[in-house]
């Protein structure tokens, strides 16, 4: 008996809208954006309802066609997957509202494919998060990746090459993951995650299981842009259009991080993961190097989108470091950072889209204090998001770093603690550099000075989502105790 169809409904909404958008979009291209907003809005509403239901009723397993696993396939709606799809769909909803003008300006006449692919990519992400079956996960991974490659190829002149490089390395990662699934299938005879997690402890110190774990971590690490497999990310995010970047950057790598959580903490369990070699420590070291590398590279960039892309490499490091700490505080900090970073990165990429719409560039060296006068609200939103990225209280970014720091102290891992603190300083360097230009630097000589009357704010359809996301950073910051309380309840420890 199936009590609730909610998990399947969320996926079906995306299937439906990925067909509806081309069908109506061919007829009236301007209908595609409202449809995409409607679809992602519905999905976001359902995922929030679902998470509230989860909090009162507990986890939900949805068997397709009533066939029970391990014969049938299932969607698992537990705390972790519920939390992730709630974040993904809500952020995507705001990005779709925001992308109306940027899409129209950057790729006129091609809005319909953009929205259809965006919805298809969200289908892949939601499926990856919800599915309880390792092979289905691979299929959804490829759905999400293929539409992601196409979305990244919409953009500047270099975008197709960036997308091609991502395709090669991303598909290789997916294939390695599939090989890992093959190893696990040969030793356990099941593909269901819950079923398999019950069997794997019997295979303690099996070489096949260890090889599978490594293959999966490497394969998914490519998708998560875990150092040193991050090479595709900066080019992809830089050359793609503002609307694609705002859609992919906040959620793409998070979903891959979700798979790492699912594999290392649920499927294998922390003891089995570390049975043969200190895998979690190794992953944590890679994450720590990624944090420092991303921050240092971000300082060296002169283009806002490229800087944000490198900062993504660094921020995904925090999430994976929290995972590698394998204690409740690290776990809660990592998941809180998933939420914070999705909101912050979405807001920052949306702001870069607004600047490109109005100024035609997002080159940091050309920023000066005329931007503050022309775009007071945009820059206010930027300031909030930037300060949250740096991690100053009471904004959201401070609290996720705070819980991560508590996690490192819990493990007496002083090197990771130092990495988090140093990286916060580096974040401050690259964001204050921009804030200083925007609020302090006088325009270069010869340019006409801008008076307060020359306001040229982006249209309301862009300003409102940006302001809501930036504002929610303050709300998340004050509500952090409540959120962390919920997240600690999800933790498998």
């Amino acid at each position: 008996m199936i009590e609730s169809h909610l998990p399947a409904t969320i996926a079906l909404i995306f299937v439906l809208f990925s067909v509806l958008i081309p069908a109506f979009g061919i007829w009236r291209s301007e209908l595609s954006q409202p449809l995409a907003v409607l679809g992602s809005g519905l999905a976001a509403a359902f995922s929030i309802i679902g998470f509230i239901q989860y909090l009162s009723d507990g986890a939900l397993r949805y068997y397709f066609g009533g066939w029970e696993p391990p014969v049938g396939i299932e969607f698992v709606y537990d705390g972790l997957s519920g939390f992730f799809i709630m974040v993904i769909n809500t952020v995507a909803f705001f990005v779709f509202i925001h992308s109306h003008h940027t899409a129209k300006q950057e790729f006129p006449g091609k809005e319909m494919p953009y929205y259809a692919l965006g919805i298809l990519m969200l289908l892949g992400f939601n499926g990856m998060v919800l599915t309880g079956d390792l092979f289905n996960l691979y299929v959804f991974l490829e759905i999400a990746s293929l539409s992601g490659y196409a979305l990244i190829a919409i953009g500047d002149r270099q975008a197709p090459y960036a997308a091609f490089r991502y395709l090669i390395i991303g598909t290789a990662g997916g294939t390695l993951y599939l090989l890992g699934v093959g190893y696990l299938y040969t030793v356990t005879g099941t593909l269901n995650i819950i079923d398999m997690s019950a069997m794997l402890p019997m295979l303690y110190e099996s070489n096949a299981v260890f090889a599978a774990l490594i293959l999966m971590i490497v394969g998914i690490g490519v998708k998560a842009a875990l150092f040193p497999m991050h090479g595709w990310l900066p080019d992809s995010y830089t050359y793609t259009s503002s609307s694609s970047a705002a859609l992919i950057a906040p959620i793409g790598t998070k979903v891959a991080a979700y798979i790492l959580f699912r594999i290392m903490l649920w499927l294998f369990g922390i003891e089995l993961t570390d049975a043969m070699a200190p895998v979690t420590l190794f992953v944590g070291i890679l994450a720590a190097i990624g944090i420092l590398y991303g921050s240092v590279m971000a300082i060296a960039q002169n283009e806002l989108k490229r800087m944000l892309a490198y900062s993504s490499v660094s921020q995904i490091g925090y999430i994976i470091m929290g995972l590698s700490l394998a204690n409740p505080w690290g776990f809660a900090g990592a998941l809180l950072h998933v939420l914070n970073h999705a909101v912050m990165k979405a807001a920052l990429f949306m702001i870069s889209g607004q600047l490109r719409l109005r100024e035609g560039h997002s080159d940091i060296s050309r920023f000066d204090d005329s931007y503050r006068k022309k775009y007071p609200w945009t820059m206010a939103a930027f300031t909030v998001a930037a300060i949250s990225m740096i991690g100053l209280p009471p904004l959201a970014g401070f609290f996720s770093k705070w819980y991560l720091v508590l996690g490192t102290i819990d493990n007496s891992n002083w090197i990771f603690l130092a990495v988090i603190l140093i990286s916060s300083l580096l974040n401050a360097v690259y964001f204050f550099r921009i804030l200083e230009k925007v609020y302090m630097m006088n325009p270069a000589k010869g340019q006409k000075s801008v008076s307060d009357g020359d306001r040229n704010e982006a249209p309301a359809s862009m300003m409102i989502p940006t302001l809501i996301l930036s504002g929610s950073l303050i709300v998340i910051g004050f509500a952090n105790a409540v959120i962390v309380g919920i997240l600690l309840g999800i933790a498998p420890f």
């Binding site: 090459y161 290789a172 093959g182 299938y185």
Partner: protein, 125 residues
Amino acid sequence: MADFFMGHYAYWFTIILLCIGLYGILFKKNLIKKTIGLAILQISVVLFFVSVASKSGDVTVPVRDQANFPVEIAANYLNPLPHTLMLTAIVVGVATLGVAFTLLIAIYNRYNTLDEQELIEQFDD
């Protein structure tokens, strides 16, 4: 030792294919050759799944042998699931190649070359 190699020759074969594919992806400069390497990599994993589930001799899949249902002697049957999974994986591979070639056409139309070195030189200008 020889037994270890000969007894698992199908797996050695897939591993060699996998390495050829990885080599193509990492070291070939031409983007078409990279794509070919990718295809070889995917096929190697498909062959791995297929060889895992194959059995020689007089065996069939359970649903083809309804007279003896439920199955008692497992050695008489092979597992059809990995093969069906691989049908999906092949479809995914075809779709990936389709997207890859579309991107290659877009790159060629913009730069008139598919050589990585020449492309990077053009980016610098």
